[in-house]
């Protein structure tokens, strides 16, 4: 059977989904970024064991922690959102419900991310 794809489509190699490996690639790039971030965060969290309110706020308000904690949460949420999308696509069979679940999950991720950023900035800038 002859190939029905145009030469351009064949060269792009994206298939019928049209955006090809973007999702797969984004998951890998966020995974690579999260390796050092998670190691830094886990060590920091253990060191903060038993820390009181003031000590926790002082730690968060250092410039390094503000940047890295924001990155950990935002990149982590993005990575989680990409993974949960695949999980929902695998286990929710009905198309309408599947779409609703993915959209609701994405909304939750965006709200959580913005909530965390506002909280970190408030602590850092003494709001």
């Amino acid at each position: 059977m002859s190939d029905l794809r145009s030469p351009l489509a064949r060269a792009r190699g994206l298939g019928s989904a049209h955006d090809g490996l973007h999702h797969w690639w984004a998951q890998r790039v966020t995974a690579v970024a999260l390796v050092p971030l998670v190691v830094w965060f886990a060590v920091s969290l253990v060191m903060l064991s038993g820390a009181e309110y003031g000590a926790v706020r002082a730690w968060i308000s250092s410039s390094l922690a503000m940047v890295l904690l924001t990155l950990t949460i935002v990149v982590g949420l993005h990575h989680a959102q990409l993974g949960m999308q695949v999980v929902i696509e695998d286990y929710v069979a009905r198309d309408g419900l599947k779409l609703a679940c993915i959209v609701a999950m994405r909304f939750l991720a965006v709200v959580a991310g913005l909530g965390a950023i506002v909280a970190i900035l408030r602590i850092g800038f003494g709001g």
Binding site: R28, L34, V35, V39, G50, I60, G76, A116
Partner: protein, 132 residues
């Protein structure tokens, strides 16, 4: 027998009920399970910074839960999920780059992931409890 009536001998996908668990399949399932748990866990992390941005008494009630038995089980499980997903995620990145596909290598890296995540969880608990 005509072609239309011949039974088709298609390959069957493995049925989990009759399939003997192997290290490779168990770790694969665990990677997804810990990923789902961490998706909830990152919301817990968001809650932590939001509570820290609130008043001292609000934060104290959040810390009260963390210090309870249930809270410690949650935090300990959360840390294990984090270390496991991190270690096994690095294993996946090596596969993505084309390394470690031999059955022997897959088992070796699998046991390494199990050891690293258990040791890191235990170490975090020992150091954390000493600091409390």
């Amino acid at each position: 027998m005509s072609a239309a009536h011949r039974p088709v001998n298609r390959p069957l996908s493995p049925h989990l009920q009759i399939y003997k668990p192997q290290l490779t399949s168990v770790l694969s399932i665990l990677h997804r399970a810990t990923g789902i748990a961490l998706s909830v866990g990152v919301l817990y992390l968001v809650a932590w910074v939001v509570f820290a941005s609130a008043s001292a008494s609000t934060y104290a009630s959040f810390q009260g839960f963390n210090a309870s038995i249930l809270g410690r089980i949650c935090l300990g499980g959360w840390l294990f999920c984090l270390y496991y997903h991190l270690a096994n995620g690095i294993r996946h990145l090596f596969w993505d780059a084309g390394y470690g596909f031999d059955l022997k290598d897959a088992y070796r890296s699998g046991w390494l992931v199990v050891a690293v995540s258990l040791i890191a969880t235990a170490l975090s608990w020992v150091v954390g409890l000493r600091l409390v």
